[in-house]
Symmetry: C2
Subunit: 148 residues, 2 copies
Amino acid sequence: MSEEKAGAYEGRVTWVEGLQFVAHGQVSGAAFVMDGDPNHGGLDSGVRPMEALLLSLAGCTGMDVISILRKKRQEVTGFWVNVRGFRAPEFPKWYTRIELEFVVRGWDISEQAVARSIELSQTKYCGVTASLKSEIVYTYRIEQEPVR
Amino acid sequence: MSEEKAGAYEGRVTWVEGLQFVAHGQVSGAAFVMDGDPNHGGLDSGVRPMEALLLSLAGCTGMDVISILRKKRQEVTGFWVNVRGFRAPEFPKWYTRIELEFVVRGWDISEQAVARSIELSQTKYCGVTASLKSEIVYTYRIEQEPVR
């Protein structure tokens, strides 16, 4: 059984200079750069950690939704998830509320399939959603391709 | 006032193929790739979303700690944060527990300064910590450089 299936994930962030860190995931072997605002000593060379949190949520639910839509034989030609997080005004400025907007483009996309895929992800499958305290709300939009 | 200071963060994940997504942060302008396990239709070309969540936590607290250590005039020559997340066995397999290990290398590093920096981040400053439901625990290790 792979570590991924066993359920534990590991990683490391390694400081480079200023607020620049390389973030490395042990299961995937992939890496990305995180960095801070130049006004606070950062080099502005990578995503902010609070952005990475939002993007992990959008990626997690996005992977669920595209997988389920495929199983439902939807002909998706484009798909993206916009995410916006609202922080409390005082430190630690946690995300009190996060808004997700799912946009599905394709041929004869079923609204019911889209709505159900998102619902399944948000209530049953997405481990990032389930790990957050924040209120998470979503909307979706379907862009049908012109008739063939 | 910049959007960063106003407290809202925005981003987008855009599906490319398989489970491959490009994740783009609107405040930083930076991007990285997320992808899934090849056994589940992924191309294995980027971090898993559940890894990105752990790494956002490690990066957030890592930036706090390196900033505070600098203010405390500690001569840090190396710094990294190891992170491990333990998931519930059933879907949505959320992180029930996350372990952080801070490793600080440097000249005459004060253990008190390290302990206090981590404590300040975890209790007061880190917005990712404060947004998570998971139990978060930490340890630290100091590696003193040899005497000059």
